[in-house]
């Protein structure tokens, strides 16, 4: 079990900055994020886009802001569980919480801070009959360990960059790679698209265009994938693995089950300290709502600072909080 003062759900810019504000008050943080990297939307959706409304930065690329935030909080030694989704908040008798993820990671903390943006990014699932029945039994939505696909028959579906990149990569790993795409062209990285067409011509992969997967079958484990072409002809092929790659979309997920007051997928908070209706649980950044709410990174930073002032009493119940400027005392380290 991991023990910390504050468990932050969501490692986007606001969650990261909360580590800094908490650190100034000598509170330690553990962050959990469903994505395999920190930065939230900034790293996942628009890493190279410039942002113009971060105070002190006339222009900063999204990924650069994330990198800078990681530098800024490094001395507070935050710990991370990435690629995991929080499932359960378990309140303890003394008021503290144990936070549990889908991977079984458990974090004991005094305070829970939800900085989850629009929710956790989860793979988009295509409408394929039988799909969910074979999840974990041949069907997966990301390639975590390509070695598990060695010498197997793999079907990938999708037309974006990740479908192209994995097709190229797996061509040398799997026994047989088939890429199914509903269009006939790829607009992603032109180099990758060209490489995929080359591999198909050389017979190293099967490229099936103008087609969708309609159903899958198996006996406990995936065995067959059935495709339907635009010409309505269907075709069934044998396969050990199916990996639909259709990007990620944010889902509120289990947050909806935590007895928090929620209004249209956002958590209601008190603007005094960004606390929710449940003691010791705070919500900051895009996930919260209050009269006048603006979904801006800079507003989330402000919310993080006020939240920490309030959370202090749960972490250090016998201490009086005295406000200090970083210019006077510098930044403490752990």
């Amino acid at each position: 079990m991991i023990t910390t003062d504050i468990c932050i759900i969501g490692a986007g810019p606001v969650g990261l900055f909360a580590v800094f504000e908490a650190g100034l008050l000598k509170m330690r943080c553990h962050l959990i994020d469903a994505l395999p990297q920190v930065g939230g939307q900034l790293s996942e959706i628009y890493p190279q886009k410039p942002i113009y409304d971060i105070p002190g930065y006339p222009e900063v690329k999204a990924q650069e802001l994330v990198d800078n935030l990681m530098d800024q909080i490094a001395s507070f030694k935050p710990t991370f569980s990435l690629g995991e989704r929080v499932e359960v908040l378990d309140k303890q008798e003394d008021g503290s919480y144990i936070v549990e993820t889908n991977e079984g990671t458990r974090v004991h903390c005094q305070v829970v801070v939800i900085a989850a943006g629009l929710g956790s990014f989860e793979p988009r699932k295509p409408e394929i009959s039988g799909l969910e029945r074979f999840e974990g039994k041949g069907v997966s939505y990301m390639v975590k360990n390509p070695e598990l696909l060695r010498d197997r028959r793999v079907v990938l579906a999708g037309g974006g960059d990740s479908a192209l990149d994995w097709t190229i990569f797996l061509a040398n790993v799997a026994q047989e790679v088939t890429l199914v795409h509903r269009g006939e062209t790829f607009r992603g990285a032109p180099d990758s698209a060209e490489k995929v067409f080359e591999l198909a011509q050389e017979g190293k992969i099967n490229l099936i265009l103008n087609s969708n997967i309609s159903s899958i079958n198996g006996n406990g484990h995936l065995k067959e994938v059935t495709l339907v072409g635009k010409d309505k002809n269907s075709y069934t092929m044998e396969a050990d693995h199916l990996i639909p790659l259709f990007g990620l979309s944010p889902k509120l997920g289990p947050i909806a089950d935590w007895n928090l007051a929620v209004d249209k997928s956002a958590i209601n908070v008190n603007t005094f300290d960004y606390s929710t209706n449940v003691e010791r649980i705070y919500a900051i950044g895009d996930i919260n709502t209050y009269p006048g709410k603006l979904k801006l990174i800079l507003c989330g930073f402000h919310e993080a600072a006020l939240m920490c002032q309030s959370a202090f009493k749960y972490v250090y119940p016998n201490q009086k909080l005295s406000f200090k400027y970083t210019t006077v005392n510098g930044v403490p380290t752990f």
């Binding site: 628009y46 999708g158 037309g159 607009r187 259709f246 990007g247 944010p250």
Partner: protein, 107 residues
């Protein structure tokens, strides 16, 4: 005024009227009209959560860019008449069009 019709996820169609020269894109107009769309990236055309199908008037709209097509390609449910609402500026080209909201529902 520019008039077009929006079909929600339940198949219900409602007319939408927008003043000319309003300077908004379709995603912004849909959100302002209380349609439930996420528009996660806020209109950069990067997240595909404002996906619409143009059931009527598709050919009158400005052509789809490669970048928009690339993002549409990441959707499992895109069709030949699919567009990203955030990439469509509301102007005369939308007169009489019929848009079906096709993006996933916010959870």
């Amino acid at each position: 005024m520019i008039n077009f019709i929006v079909e929600d996820r339940n198949g219900e169609q409602r007319p939408v009227e927008v003043p000319e020269g309003i300077g908004l894109n379709l995603m912004e107009v849909l959100k302002a009209s209380d349609y439930d769309i996420m528009a996660t990236c806020g209109g950069m055309g990067l997240c595909a959560t404002c996906h619409v199908q143009v059931l009527e008037g598709h050919d009158n709209l400005p052509p789809v860019s490669d970048v928009e097509l690339d993002i549409l390609d990441t959707l499992p449910s895109a069709h030949d008449d699919s567009r990203l609402a955030c990439q469509l500026r509301v102007d005369e080209s939308m007169e009489g069009a019929l848009f079906r909201i096709a993006s996933e529902e916010p959870s």
